[in-house]
Amino acid sequence: MAQISVDIERGPDEPASPHQGRHPNTCPVCSSHYRDDELVAALRVCRQCGHHFRLPARERIAQLVDAGSFQEAAADLRNADPLAFVDRKPYTERLTEAELATGLGDAMLVGTASVGGRPCALAVMDFFFMGGSMGSVVGEKFCVAADLAVARGVPLVAVASSGGARMQENVLALMQMAKTVMAVDQVRAARLPFISICSDPTTGGVIASFAALGDVMIAEPGALMSFAGPRVVQQTTGETLPTDFGRAESQLRLGHVDLVVPRAELTAALGRLLQLFAPSTDEPTADAPAPVPPPAGPMGWLRRLFGGAGG
């Protein structure tokens, strides 16, 4: 799964290409350069400055879930270009290019998996497929993930990475916002937790629909999470933007996010949440005589991270 530079569609204020003017393996913050295998081994996090590179969906799944546990669903859904849309090139051509470049049928993979031995339904977006934009297929796939969560009685976990709704499907893309929100409601009605993980970027119609509705909202460091992108805000209002406008850290400060979790710690954090939410019937029946004191050591980050009792 090599990183490729496609002419993706983005929020109007994203740079014209995610790697504009630089190699995709060059850190945009500190200009460190990595071989592809180095970057993959480092979870695509810059060892020098901690910058989180965007992560293809399959790499995300490989990092996040128990090895071999992912069972893909709805893999054969493909876009149908209902509007027979053409801008400077036909939508069908963009879809074909994206599929060839990413090996994905659309910008989301869904299925079931386990994390730390705890089962969940999973929906993971891929920014490299047309900017992770949400059209009919992404919307339907998210609903399939929600269906799986409800059918199996397991939590739903989503990893968003998207510039927003897919313009080439216009109102149909817009309706996916309603559709995915209703899927979250369906999970809620089944009394199951929904954990929403936002990576860079989670903007537009995705952060304004399912991605904002996590019972627990997790963001990766530096992830842009605004509805309107910084450039639109700047151009429309003429306001001066704070340097961390819309970024995960400011979203945490402003109360829109529960946790900002570095990628290296995401699997443990997610596993810990799934463990917390797990029904008590899954536990050993003998009651512990007293709560277990938190261990010190390598999991100390969890204490730091959560302000909690540690791993």
Binding site: T96, G135, S136, A173, D185, A212
Partner: protein
């Protein structure tokens, strides 16, 4: 190869018969016409009486989104809608119909009030989009839009929505999730403004006409795509020429739609509404072991 149903093929063929660019653009201009009736113009004409509610109970009241209690054909309803201003002062006051988080929080409050008291909800959609300001973003614009959609999705009461002007993006959808969604002949509904679409896809906001023609934000297309339930006729040459007549036509449509929804069993209303939106979207199936392509 992607396998499409015959229905999708029909849809694609229909959209390939594109008509005239100028016709689409005329609708866009009508939808934005500054003499077009706004939410409160319809409220004055559709409701025997109404009282506006104010405030989000958090820190503000947004004049760009109005909500209230009304008497509509002898029943109590809750209404909400984007509100533009006609003259410069009011347009500024109403922020050109671009709501902030406090507006959507007011909407959520009105929706929850209606649901609690068992009152039907009528919504009027007319916004270029949610306001893209720093303060609005910091106040959680994305989250309130999602929660407004959720509030409408969860309501057990009848919800009838009418797109009466510009149905712009998530800011429009936030109050456009209903058992019936109506759309006036000269209204538009789209995921992004034609200008925004042109700026991104054509790299030139001046190509808005071309973009509008390509993504067709018009009522006919929305109906074909199953996104709206009915097109509401307007007086000849547009609602802006005759507010009273436009209101009567809208009244007929809303009243009929509401009566239909009220006649349906309440207990399963939420699941029917969910099923209706779940059906929105068009896709095909990959043919196994074939090259990716739609033909």
């Amino acid at each position: 190869m992607v396998r499409l149903t015959e229905e999708v093929h029909r849809l694609r063929r229909r959209f390939q018969e594109r008509g005239e660019e100028s016709d689409v653009w005329e609708v866009v201009q009508n939808a934005r016409h500054r003499d077009r009736p706004y939410t409160l113009d319809y409220a004055e004409r559709l409701f025997t009486d109404y009282v506006e509610l104010h405030g989000d109970r958090v820190g503000g009241d947004d004049p760009a989104l109005v909500a209230g209690i009304a008497t509509y054909h002898r029943r109590c309803v809750v209404f909400l809608g984007h509100q533009k201003g006609r003259d410069l002062t009011e347009r500024t006051h109403r922020n050109f119909g671009m709501a902030r988080p406090e507006g959507y929080r007011k909407a959520i409050r009105a929706i929850e009030l209606a649901d609690r008291l068992g009152l039907p909800i009528l919504t009027f959609i007319d916004t270029p989009g949610a306001y893209p300001g720093v303060g609005a973003e910091q106040g959680g614009q994305a989250g309130v839009i999602a929660r407004s959609i959720l509030a409408l999705a969860r309501a057990d009461v009848p919800v009838v929505c009418a797109v009466i002007g510009e149905g712009g993006s998530g800011g429009a959808l936030a109050i456009a999730v209903g058992d019936r969604v109506l759309m006036q002949e000269n209204a538009i509904y789209s995921v992004i403004s034609p200008e925004g679409c042109a700026a991104i896809l054509w790299k030139d906001a001046g190509q808005a006409k071309k973009a509008a023609f390509a993504f067709r934000p018009i009522a006919r297309a929305c109906l074909d795509l199953g996104v709206i339930d009915a097109i509401v006729p307007e007086p000849p040459a547009g609602a802006h020429r005759d507010h009273d007549r436009a209101a009567r036509l809208l009244d007929d449509a809303i009243r009929g739609a509401l009566a239909e929804v009220e006649a349906e069993p309440a207990a399963s209303r939420r699941s029917r509404r969910r099923a209706k939106f779940r059906a929105m979207g068009v896709w095909g199936m990959a043919e196994p072991d074939a090259a990716p392509a739609i033909t």
